[in-house]
């Protein structure tokens, strides 16, 4: 899957989970850029991403994700 497609799908997951259709993510977006992205929502986002892409993240992998781009690259690797 192309990275841009992963990003697009991740973007719609964020809009759905955070209940905010206006979110526009870029590869460099972080939790600091999206007001609603806190601990609680992070768990919901990861759960939704895992379900959608049929992948599983370890805590250490989640912890090392520094931005949305890294999340997408990780998904790309896991689904390859």
């Amino acid at each position: 899957m192309e990275l841009s497609q992963v990003l697009e799908e991740v973007n719609s997951i964020f809009c759905k989970v955070l209940n905010k259709p206006t979110i526009i993510l870029t590869e460099s977006s972080t939790a600091d850029d999206v007001d609603e992205w806190d601990s609680l929502n992070n768990i919901r986002l990861i759960a939704e991403v895992e379900q959608h892409f049929k992948v599983k993240f370890k805590l250490r992998e989640i912890m090392k994700l520094k931005n949305v781009g890294e999340l997408c690259t990780n998904i790309q690797k896991k689904t390859a």
Partner: protein
Amino acid sequence: MHNHNLLTQILKGIQSHPDRNAFFIDGKYHTYKSLAKRISEIYNIIKQHTGPTAQCIGIIEKNNIETYASLLAVLFSGNTYVILNPQNPNCRNRIIVESTDIQLILHSDEDNCSLDIPKYVNLISTIDVKSESILDKIMTQVDSDSLAYIIFTSGSTGVPKGVPISHGNLNAFYDAYSSLNFNLNKEDRLLQMFDLCFDVSVVSTLYPLTLGACIFTVSQNSVKYTQVYELLEDEELTFAAIAPSLLSYLQPYFEEINLPKLKYLILTAEASNWDLLSQFITCAPNAELVNLYGPTEATIYCTSYRVNPNDIDTYNGMLAIGKAFKSMHAIIVDENLQEVPKGEKGEMCVAGAQLMEGYWKDPKKSKEVFVELDCFEVPTRYYRTGDICFIDEKDCIHYCGRKDYQVQIQGFRVELNEIEHTVRQYHSIGSNVVLAKPNQLGNQELHLFIEKYEGEETSIIDFLKEKLPIYMCPQNIYGINELPLNSSGKVDRKKLLELV
């Protein structure tokens, strides 16, 4: 003899360990020497802008060394610090600034501070201020009646309540906390994960400095649980005070977590569910678990329970809160303020040197929460905690729930915790919360919010009907991925009520 003046001990800690690390913030270490310089710089600013009379000084909270140095400089200057959280609504911060008559606010924003501050307030940046360390000239003999900080908590009327804590309160707390005899020294690495407007941050910040140890802070803006885990594991922290909800976030990953260096895990800020903790123990095999309880009004913590995994004291699955701190006394009273016998539930009242004098400029509210009881044959001033507790045969205090979580359903007195506990027997993954809300007819209805539950509603109801009287079975059940938390790390019951 141990000196129980907290400020003196902090100063000694700072001066005795110049080359050791005091803080680890956002990936960067700060030595005690650089901390001393920062404090001196800000201390000088404060002295230039304040007179001889103590006053409240606002600090805009950020996760950086300037914020922590500002807090210490205000304390050393004999003034009172009041934290302003930029995440709070502007109107809330404005109420705090106006009610405490703040004339000076310290901030550490690169640009101008974005807070809506009254024009008469002197807003000063603590970035790029230069001066030599003058810490050796600082006097730490602050009058014990003068206020160290005021923490604002949510008030039932919607206006935040100010809880002023004096240096005398803080010193009494420090004395009692030191008596818990944690085996800690300058080599230890301690976590500070709490917002500065929440009082556990006070002990998480100040106590390690008395030891010359290093404090590892967590940024408030982003995802906290992964940051905490990262620090615990990668930086091999030895001491951590956390809210139990944080563990529930980490629960799906317990198998991956390995913290052999952790010596103490303090559970605080909310009731601690033993089921969850007993699962966590394998992640931190060398850690002693300690449950610490206390209302802000009685200075951070005022009871402690040290967990012996082979002999656990629980009530409804929640860990006991143990015994009162050494300068505090706790009793359980009934509705007529009469002490109840052992084993009987009632409201816990606490007295002692850690008690605040009264809410900030709110004598009416203060009158409601303080009561004089003749426990020692002389009238003693007690604070009514609003917490329902009982004392068991071993003189151990158990927390049963909030007075206000106890509700009347069809005339029956119902403890919501009891329902939550029963739900956990059926579904032990994650937490659950039961709330009561009046329906259109004004009758209380029970709503159950349950984490990670994918089963049928009917099967859980059938289970509850088997265990509880019918009036205690929730009418509405909501499956939820994770319970929302407020800024203190407690389950946000208000937010949940809005979902009903």
